[in-house]
Assembly symmetry: none
Homo-oligomer: 125 residues x 4
């Protein structure tokens, strides 16, 4: 379900966050669906529970999942309306970053390169 790459420079908890985010946002995991428990996922990835805990906590702060004491973590409700809101929001962030990079004289080619990387390989760098 989740693959880790130890050669990757990014910390493990970041990789877990990204993978889960992908599954949730793309709709592969459904609303209110239970996520593997901290210990369970830690065992299956052969990793320390604290690392999973951190990934889960940060996703909770971002509002993608929520926790119920003694029950587990679950995918937070995401209505269709919510998706649209999120897209608009991210587009705004994108535009703002692009404009600033333009002012900072970053070449268009460099931007295009990043866009292609992400849309082809799935991850950048």
């Amino acid at each position: 379900m989740i693959k880790l790459d130890y050669r990757d420079n990014r910390p493990i908890y970041e990789q877990i966050k990204e993978e889960l985010k992908k599954l949730i946002i793309s709709g592969a995991m459904k609303t209110e669906e239970k996520i593997p428990s901290v210990r369970e996922l830690a065992a299956s990835l052969a990793i320390n529970p604290n690392t999973i805990q951190r990934a889960y906590r940060e996703l909770e702060v971002e509002g993608l999942i929520y926790s119920q004491r003694a029950k587990g973590y679950f995918v937070a409700p995401m209505s269709a309306a919510y998706s649209e809101e999120r897209i608009k929001e991210k587009i705004e962030i994108l535009k703002s970053a692009l404009m600033e990079l333009h002012y900072l004289k970053v070449e268009k080619e460099e931007i295009t390169k990043i866009v292609c990387e992400i849309y082809e390989k799935g991850v950048a760098k």
Copy 2:
């Protein structure tokens, strides 16, 4: 120095912010240089001083300008090192937004369109 477009959907203070940001980040305005006073700019653009005040205040929060009581607003110091840092930061924000938009199934063409708009016309939409 600053041009407003009343047909633009964006609020006036946003347009002013963007224009000033452009001038400061691209280096057209130098460090410690004085910015037109609130009243002065308001008069020359024929708009309400409160609007200018809001634009300036938000730029101050973003750290691009700073105010000195009874003297006016000035361009905040930005070293070359600072520029590089800012580029890296914005690239990270860009990547993060792009990945999420990818998960949300926004087409690559739509992204490319936005990139081109900004790099050709200078503003998006």
Copy 3:
């Protein structure tokens, strides 16, 4: 059912959101009850349907109502347990905001004034 105040500074969609929120949370509208359709409410209030749409969409994101394609919007289920939980949550938010305002040296009188306004007139400012 819903009253608008055009002298109010808040945008129309905000006013509609608040009014509906009031009706739903206080229990005046029951669970699963149908809400007036976008066009219907727009006509009865003599305003643009897009404004209603926005208010409804945001209420959907907040989880207070839900939409069924081609059927309309309905009040989302809210158990008594849910109410208690929501109260606790809002109390926490209240405390956190109060403490920060205290640190920021906002006078107690100013706070009390806001509390009274809301509990007497129903709305603040």
Copy 4:
């Protein structure tokens, strides 16, 4: 500089966060001022460095402090403009929470009690 209360139900990292937040927001600690290093504070409070690390990290996410690798943590710049923005923002959050609590039929006396507790004892509950 920071006092912990082990009888308090709140986790230690929360208490540290609150204390630092108080010092920073009220202006007792100045912009760009260095904060005790993770290990240093841990030693002086006789507490595990990981606990301090967590408190600092969360304050960094909230934008109150920032970190420089191999240098330490510092108080983030807070202009006067920023303070005003922050007060306005918190007042809005306060109003919104109050209105919802009103709809939920929470008595005014209960609210007043909380306000007094915070403004007199400094902490609630």
